[in-house]
């Protein structure tokens, strides 16, 4: 326990889950990943008071593993709607409930604001509306069906399928062919551009800048057309299979895609990038929804959110195919910084795609995967941040699975960022974090 606390003090929790009869902590520190196993039978000791980054993990444990919490600072349910949610109330403050059904076309979640005039004093988030029993659906399913399920966990099918496939391939001890390895990254970067431009378009819609929203939406739609041309699906579902990829893209198609993508990169720099220099846009986005670097550390944030608050961690730095790779970092921690990170990462991804598509290797598209009984985990830098799959296989079936999505780690940031801000700023704050409800509700 002391070693765990020491690691948490200098590092960041990556995952915490119950693998009876013990709790398993994955902590990323300065010297890499460390795993800690703490015996837990019926109870476990909460550490969230000292390490707030563990708060949601511990709320999850109490529900998923039915373990009693000891010393819990925040005994709220996470996804369970059977018990009433104890919203914090304040004497003399007005409460504004928002959701679960929102005005736009977004996923459901409930937000309870305590406001003084228009100033937000406190926000509480209640999720769980999208809970479909994803973990249970995985259990006992074939490894191939597990890949289909992974594609349906959230709105980033490539990242989820890739992360799941890599975990299974690690169990099987197979190495995917060079072509498949490279083409998977092509799909991953395309998905990143598609997602990032989506957040920017949403942000521009929310501040009422129709020109920028339309241009961003236009580029995004054409990126999606390239995804479909290269993968046979608008979101590249079915393109990643265990052991490789489903099909080969011939040289002509790769060349055509490169040409189109370079046009789109030009459009991004010409039409979208100047928007974030426009004085009215700066006025609206700057100093709104600030998450300081210290808060980002304490909450264990990941992905573009963390990078916009000065934490330069991007898992792509660890992958040889990306080298040389420099993560995009901003220090403001506000909506504008996050918008900058989305834009710069999308632009960088266009560059990566050009390189990846130019160097598509020859050879087979996939190798057969026969997994012995065993366990492995894999991490992917998805558009939203660090995604983790821990897969345990037995007799070619999924015996246990743990999915930790970036949104699950980043949701608490929203509560912090809006505190003290104006209620009308909430939509742009929410959009700037770009959180998935489904992949944290599971």
């Amino acid at each position: 326990m002391e070693a765990l606390k020491r690691a948490l003090r200098s590092g960041r929790p990556v995952a915490l889950w119950h693998d009876p009869p013990q709790l398993r902590y994955l902590v990323e520190g300065p010297s890499g990943m460390e795993e800690f196993r703490i015996p837990a039978d019926r109870t476990f000791t909460c550490l969230a008071r000292e390490f707030p980054a563990l708060a949601w993990f511990e709320r999850q444990l109490a529900e998923v593993a039915a373990l009693q919490r000891i010393g819990c600072a925040d005994p709220k349910p996470l996804r369970d709607h059977g018990t009433p949610f104890p919203f914090a109330t304040y004497d003399g403050l007005h409460e504004v409930p928002v959701g679960p059904v929102h005005a736009g076309v977004i996923e459901p979640g409930h937000f309870r604001f305590s406001v003084l005039g228009e100033r937000i004093v406190n926000l509480e988030i209640r999720l769980g509306y999208q809970h479909r029993g994803v973990r249970a659906a995985f259990l006992g399913s074939s490894l191939e069906r597990g890949r289909l399920l992974a594609e349906r966990v959230g709105s980033e099918p490539v990242a989820h399928a890739l992360c799941y496939a890599r975990a299974v391939e690690l169990i099987a001890g197979v190495e995917v062919p060079p072509y498949a390895d490279r083409f998977r990254l092509v799909l991953l970067e395309l998905e990143r551009i598609f997602q990032h431009l989506g957040h920017l378009a949403g942000l521009f819609t929310d501040i009422g800048y129709a020109f920028a929203a339309t241009q961003t939406g236009r580029v995004r739609a054409m990126v999606q057309a390239e995804i479909e041309r290269l993968s046979g699906h608008r979101y590249a579902r079915n393109a990643i299979v265990l052991g490789g990829v489903a099909a080969r893209v011939d040289e002509d198609a790769a060349r055509a895609a490169r040409a189109k993508l370079s046009e789109l990169a030009y459009d991004t720099s010409t039409y979208i990038a100047p928007v974030l220099r426009h004085p009215m846009v700066l006025d609206r986005l700057r100093y709104v929804g600030v998450v300081s670097e210290g808060q980002a550390h304490r909450l264990g944030l990941v992905g573009p959110t963390a990078r916009a608050s000065g934490i330069g961690r991007d898992l792509r730095s660890d992958e040889p195919s990306y080298r040389p790779f420099v993560p995009v970092t901003r220090v403001g921690g506000d909506v504008l910084s996050r918008a900058h990170v989305y834009l710069l990462e999308a632009q960088a991804s266009f560059g990566l795609l050009d390189r990846f598509l130019r160097e598509l290797p020859d050879g087979p598209t996939a190798v057969p995967v026969v997994a012995p009984d065993g366990e492995a985990w894999a991490r992917i830098e998805s558009a939203r941040g660090e995604l983790l799959y821990v897969v345990k296989a037995r007799e070619q079936r999924v015996q246990a699975i743990e999915i930790v999505s970036p949104s699950f780690k980043n949701w608490p940031a929203l509560e912090v960022a809006v505190r003290g801000g104006g209620l009308p700023d909430f939509p742009i704050c929410n959009k700037s974090f770009d959180l998935s409800y489904a992949d944290s509700d599971l």
């Binding site: 076309v105 459901p108 509306y129 479909r132 249970a136 959230g154 099918p157 739609a221």
Partner: protein
């Protein structure tokens, strides 16, 4: 000035409905069973091949449920003789049965259902306010609804708008397999709408749960809890299919799929 120039240079993006309904060449179409080619081996191979269990055989009947198809295209590539392909996105239907292809194995022919019921006359509105509710969807069907409003698809040219409140809505577009936790808000949203009102199940998950069909945390389909007027299949349902579904709802197009196969592809009924 530069912005204005950029806007003018962009030109018109909106595509004609016929162009939108054509499937891009790289994507697999909808599989169509060819009853005369379904030997015992082929049927067994199809059942084993499909990763999502869209093919099934029991009681002398071979079935293909389009609402369970994840569009991986494996059956099309592996069995081009036994499986035809429909490459148009006019796949929305008013009756769940019209998404299921049934082959009577004794006679070796498709089972012909009756004509599909027309959409309700009170829903033939000049404009349609649509309220989208995600009830356990991963986010892609929602994304496709939002994209039906982008400049390429431009749903508002047909009079369809996405409205913020159920009070303003004529149609409720539901995505996802209806999670238990989302059921009460979904029902409250429906009851907040004024009559006449319609329900559209968008995407395979909303139609029959797709991969989450057996989960105890979901109801496994919108029609288990609300009367559904139009089903839009797809994994996820494509924006053009959603547009077609809304046009079908207001009675401006004729349903294409009957018994899971397009009318034009069906052989003429045998003369007595």
């Amino acid at each position: 000035m530069k912005r204005l120039l950029a806007t003018l240079q962009t030109g018109r993006l909106t595509k004609r409905l016929d162009d939108l309904l054509a499937l891009p060449a790289s994507s697999p179409g909808i599989p169509l069973l060819r009853p005369e080619r379904l030997s015992d081996e082929v049927r067994a191979a199809l059942v084993a091949l499909c990763p999502s269990g869209a093919f099934a055989e029991d009681g002398g009947e071979f079935r293909l449920d389009l609402a369970a198809c994840v569009a991986c295209g494996r059956c099309l590539r592996r069995h081009p003789d036994a499986i035809g392909e429909w490459r148009t996105l006019d796949v929305a239907v008013t009756r769940r049965d019209d998404l299921v292809q049934r082959v009577d194995l004794a006679r070796g022919t498709l089972i012909e259902p009756s004509d599909p019921p027309p959409s309700r006359p009170e829903l033939r509105l000049p404009t349609l306010g649509c309220r989208a509710v995600s009830a356990g969807n991963g986010g892609l069907d929602d994304s496709e609804i939002a994209l039906a409003g982008n400049p390429y698809h431009d749903m508002s040219r047909f009079g369809f708008t996405l409205v913020a409140s159920p009070r303003h809505a004529d149609a409720l577009l539901v995505t996802g397999p209806v999670s238990e936790n989302m059921l009460p808000p979904l029902e409250r949203t429906y009851h907040a709408m004024a009559a006449p009102k319609a329900v559209v199940a968008v995407g395979n998950e909303a139609i029959a749960g797709e991969l989450f069909a057996g989960s105890p945390c979901v109801r496994g389909g919108v029609d288990r809890v609300l009367d559904v007027d139009v089903y839009v299949p797809g994994s996820p349902a494509r924006p053009a299919s959603i547009l077609f579904g809304l046009l079908l709802l207001v009675g401006r197009v004729r349903q294409t799929l009957v018994g899971g196969q397009p009318r034009s592809q069906r052989p003429a009924p045998p003369r007595p």
